[in-house]
């Protein structure tokens, strides 16, 4: 089993990160601020190739291709000498988008999936559209490589806006960093690490048992299985996003949050405003809006159709299986019902009911996301209402004994449940962060526990690596 570029390893945390940071800030002090960029590019490409060198040509070709297309598109107000007289800027935009989509589709549906391809392809499609619309001038190769290969986000997002990140690199060209500024970054990183390595990976063990034998699940087991995965994927992906944001913060770059307590949502529409926010923003602005614009006269029903199409695409963006398509369809349907209710029925549900309905619906949709096959998914789904076998816990008998193996899992599940009920998410915690002894002790505790778990056989790879 090969290693993969990831944040949750000892080498990354104690070797790679400190080297990158030290090199970055030392080079910033030199005469040419571009040296720090080249350093970051080299480190990012090294990180990306770690354990799997064959991925690198794919990232590099995508990077160079999009850089080149953008040069052909050229700035909006001048005539690019590269463009042949009869080929317009729009031609190169369409060409760029089509080839990016084909590139992504080929790997996603017909071949293995190179790390991060779904994310850096989308980011560059946004970039091409922004170039075409004149939102920014085409990048130099250095600038383009800097943002696209940016190691905190290259593997799993958040999906960045190229212009925004480059502006920040320019604005912070001469800025160093103090311990006070580094502290919230370290704190956020430790929270993210804990969420992933301790909480998510422990819920994973429960979920894997359940999804490994879907036909034997009693009602309680069905709920435990599905809820475990629902919680696993949240802590996994949001934990990763926390770490990505934290590392970028340490480099002086602010990237937008990707999660905002999604399981507090009281509607499916709200859920997508709180879950994988960078993807939702891309989908809404660059997919939903153009689809809606293409309809001659917009009315409610056409907007609903656009919503459905958009969410189906979100589903299959995750992969080619029927499960992902159904996941997308369910969420599309949920949003349509949501809009319909708000617009036509207009009865406002009590908060608790709205929350319960939404959360249950989201939980059910994730069953199709996770299950190994459609029959498995329906088996888990029906176990939720399995009145023939309600209380049996036979499927989980191996985990229900107190042993050195199960104790860490039980501990982390408890931690997970405490984390959920505490009400504040990681962003809210960091906003109020103070460089005090109490905070540092807490952060150290999280890191130490995480490292112990990391060293054990609990820890696994990130879920969204598969996308």
């Amino acid at each position: 089993m090969f290693q993969q570029a990831s944040f949750n390893s000892f080498e990354f945390i104690f070797l790679f990160l400190p080297c990158v940071l030290i090199g970055f800030y030392l080079l910033k002090k030199s005469s040419n601020s571009n040296y720090s960029h080249y350093w970051l590019i080299i480190c990012s490409l090294l990180f990306y190739s770690w354990g799997n060198l064959s991925n690198l040509p794919i990232l590099l070709s995508s990077l160079v291709f999009n850089y080149t297309i953008a040069q052909f598109i050229g700035p909006i107000d001048t005539q690019s000498s590269l463009r042949p007289r009869n080929l317009s800027r729009k031609f190169f935009l369409i060409l760029g988008i089509v080839l990016n989509v084909l590139f992504l589709s080929y790997y996603k549906y017909f071949s293995y999936l190179p790390l991060g391809i779904s994310f850096f392809t989308i980011m560059q499609i946004m970039y091409l559209v922004d170039c075409y619309e004149g939102m920014l001038k085409p990048n130099t190769l250095r600038e383009h490589a800097l943002v696209v290969s940016f190691f905190p986000t290259v593997t799993m997002g958040p999906i960045l806006r190229v212009k925004n990140v480059l502006t920040q690199f320019r604005e912070t060209a001469n800025k160093g960093i103090s311990l006070e500024q580094l502290a919230p970054s370290i704190a956020l990183f430790s929270i993210g690490l804990f969420k992933k390595v301790v909480i998510a990976d422990s819920f994973a063990i429960i979920a894997n048992i359940g999804y490994g034998s879907p036909s034997t699940l009693s009602m309680i087991e069905g709920w435990v299985t599905s809820l475990s995965y629902t919680l696993q994927i949240y802590f996994d992906f949001s934990g990763y996003s926390d770490m990505a944001i934290a590392i970028a913060m340490a480099l002086g770059i602010k990237i937008p949050i990707n999660f905002n307590s999604p399981y507090k949502s009281k509607s499916v529409v709200e859920f997508w405003q709180r879950w994988h926010i960078s993807l939702t923003n891309f989908i809404t602005t660059y997919l939903y809006t153009p689809i809606v614009r293409s309809f001659a006269k917009l009315n409610f029903h056409k907007a609903m159709l656009a919503t459905l199409i958009t969410m189906l695409i979100v589903g299959i963006w995750h992969g080619s299986s029927w499960g992902f398509l159904i996941f997308g369809a369910l969420h599309g349907l949920g949003m349509v019902i949501n809009h319909y209710w708000q617009k036509k029925i207009k009865i406002k549900l009590p908060n608790f009911l709205a929350w319960a309905l939404t959360f249950t619906y989201v939980n059910v949709a994730f069953i199709f996301f996770r299950a190994e096959s459609i029959p498995d998914a329906t088996a888990v789904l029906f176990s939720l209402i399995n009145f023939e076998s309600i209380m049996s816990l036979a499927t989980f008998k191996d985990v229900l004994i107190l042993s050195p193996q199960t104790l860490p899992i039980i501990f982390s599940i408890m931690m997970g449940l405490i984390a959920i009920s505490s009400g504040k998410n990681s962003n809210q915690i960091i906003e109020k962060f103070q460089f005090s002894t109490k905070e540092l002790v807490l952060a150290s505790f999280l890191v130490v526990i995480s490292l112990i778990y990391l060293n054990s056989n609990v820890s696994t790879g990130f879920i969204y690596y598969a996308f």
Binding site: M126, V129, D130, E133, G134, M135, R161, K163, V269, N281, T284, T285, Y286, Y288, T289, P290, V292, R293, L298, F300, A303, T307, H339, Q342
Partner: protein, 79 residues
């Protein structure tokens, strides 16, 4: 600035079906009820038609509140 804001009021009131609605520069999806992506896109279309301007996709995402919207509109209308 306030001129455009005044002209926007009836459009907002129509889209959100609320004659009492009064928007300010700070109004956005967080402060106005039922302002979701559907309302947003309907709003954009109505504004584009009424004022005969076109928003770039990248500009749509950058608008954080009505104030941003009005600023952008001023630039487009002055061209």
């Amino acid at each position: 600035m306030s001129n455009i804001l005044d002209e926007l009021q009836p459009i907002f009131q129509d889209i959100f079906e609320d004659d009492e609605l009064s928007i300010t520069a700070e109004s956005n999806a967080d402060t106005v009820e039922d302002w979701d992506s559907l309302a947003h896109i309907t709003l954009i279309f109505a504004i584009e038609q009424e004022f005969e301007i076109k928003f770039a996709l990248g500009e749509l995402e950058a608008m954080k509140n009505v104030g941003d919207m009005v600023e952008l509109m001023q630039i487009k209308l002055s061209k």
